[in-house]
Subunit: 334 residues, 2 copies
Amino acid sequence: MTANNQDSHPQNAPASETTSAGRRPVCILGLGLIGGSLMQALAATGRAVFGYNRSTVTVDAASDAGYDASSDVMSTLRRAAAEDAIIVLATPVTTIEPLLSTIAETAPQCLLTDVISVKQAVAEKVARLHPRARYVGGHPMAGTSRSGWDACDPTLFRDAMWMVTTADDTDADDWTAVAHLALAVSAVVVPAAPDAHDRAVAAISHVPHLMAADTAAVGAGESNLALRLAAGSFRDGTRVAATAPALQRAMIEANDVAVLNALSEAIDRLVQARDELRDSGSVAALIDDGHRARMAYEEMAARGREPIVGVDVGTPGWASELRKQAHEGRVWLG
Amino acid sequence: MTANNQDSHPQNAPASETTSAGRRPVCILGLGLIGGSLMQALAATGRAVFGYNRSTVTVDAASDAGYDASSDVMSTLRRAAAEDAIIVLATPVTTIEPLLSTIAETAPQCLLTDVISVKQAVAEKVARLHPRARYVGGHPMAGTSRSGWDACDPTLFRDAMWMVTTADDTDADDWTAVAHLALAVSAVVVPAAPDAHDRAVAAISHVPHLMAADTAAVGAGESNLALRLAAGSFRDGTRVAATAPALQRAMIEANDVAVLNALSEAIDRLVQARDELRDSGSVAALIDDGHRARMAYEEMAARGREPIVGVDVGTPGWASELRKQAHEGRVWLG
């Protein structure tokens, strides 16, 4: 796969990107699974996209595949400033502080977004280290248990939910530009406040990772006989425990407050189930609650995307109305 | 699909079934997902197979598809006795007590096995209600979240692990006959003592079901926004929560002692992770343990089946040697 079309068809933007903001180049900092896949996906739409990665191995691999990548962060950011690029932070959350300071010095006017799996912590770091930033946070709910450039996939975001930070003081044009990045790679936009996002991903991603690790540890701790007998419930329930531990830890630990709350609820429910099983021989409450919850999830998935309707971004109250409809499970399709 | 070949090729048994025991007819009591699939799978190999189900709807459906099914338990068992059939108990564990008493009266000489997901509780009921039974327990680790005759699939057992009870006083010919039932439908035999089996399935099936229910309940309890954002970790980690609650409860509650132990370990590990996250901002211990465990599982799966070697069933110490090798993850391929 090459990205030559990014050079040969620089004006060939999708129909949905009708504003000049939609044609701004995109500068991606960090070319791991998410950043690299985003580079490939945007290039495939004809969008001008360039990126930085600290590892020259990754930069060489990206360059060999025809992408515009550099291991020089300063020259990359100077270019972003000169071209008024949208900057996408795609490095682990633990490494963004020096990057934010450098962006604040070198490309302070550029619209800034990110693809990091927590939003409160990133927003706080941005406010502290780049207080005048034009920042709209993002989080594509996509990934695999693999990582790095070799795992990148330009179709990774197809039909994925892409949370876009939506606060009352968010600039409407900047919000639209970030939302259109997500739409350009066939993702679906979910508007949310940073804290609501963090609670939601704790409940449906970070705690599930901890539960998968727990399930795996208990199973393997029993015996090789147990692992040999393991079938669907173990295989599926522990799949994400295969994700690189550093990646899992980074996303879970960065969201510690929300994870502590959701994990405590998960523990409480298990303790109640244990007590009920010990005292009355029944696990009805937990099994019934879990079944109802899974049915609700499947019904929502079967209904498909229900679009947010009746909101013109930029008109009074737009941000709160987007959040309200998203809280009910609706998505923004542009 | 029809089972006409069971009538037209009654002697066309697979090559592996070289004993007269291997050609005995099979009488299946209960034609739900497991019993019905076993009937279809055995019929497809040319084995003579007939069955009983309480529901006439199921019996009619089976009969319409060409299978030999009856809703009359007494005549079915009298036929089993007359034909020296192997009887397979395939009803929920909660319903086997009256069946065992009836078998003890009507077909006491028949070799008896079962396909129920716990083994200590079944063995105790057999010892109490049919003390002179020739009983060798079984448990095919196969299933879907669907149930009933309509969900039956003659390929359900292909490559599935089929645990066969292997105690020091197990009769070698009876053990071989039951093991060959599993091999005949392309399953893989795992010899184990009843208590070792129950601990293993608690750890890799019953607790994973409780964890899936817990994960689902916490996720859905947050908001519809959360469910809308849910991606792979939630989808895979909660899949088995879709299983009919009655089926989940029956298997978990029947294995209560082993489940209480494994569930307590699962809770302890989660509590330790919560404390570590709260006190030091880290979830390293649980994530690392889980990752190691999942890798061990994947490595075992990648190595494929390692056969039990050097054991002639029936020679001194055969049962304990089978169990020992199975404890290390090996399987019996006949």
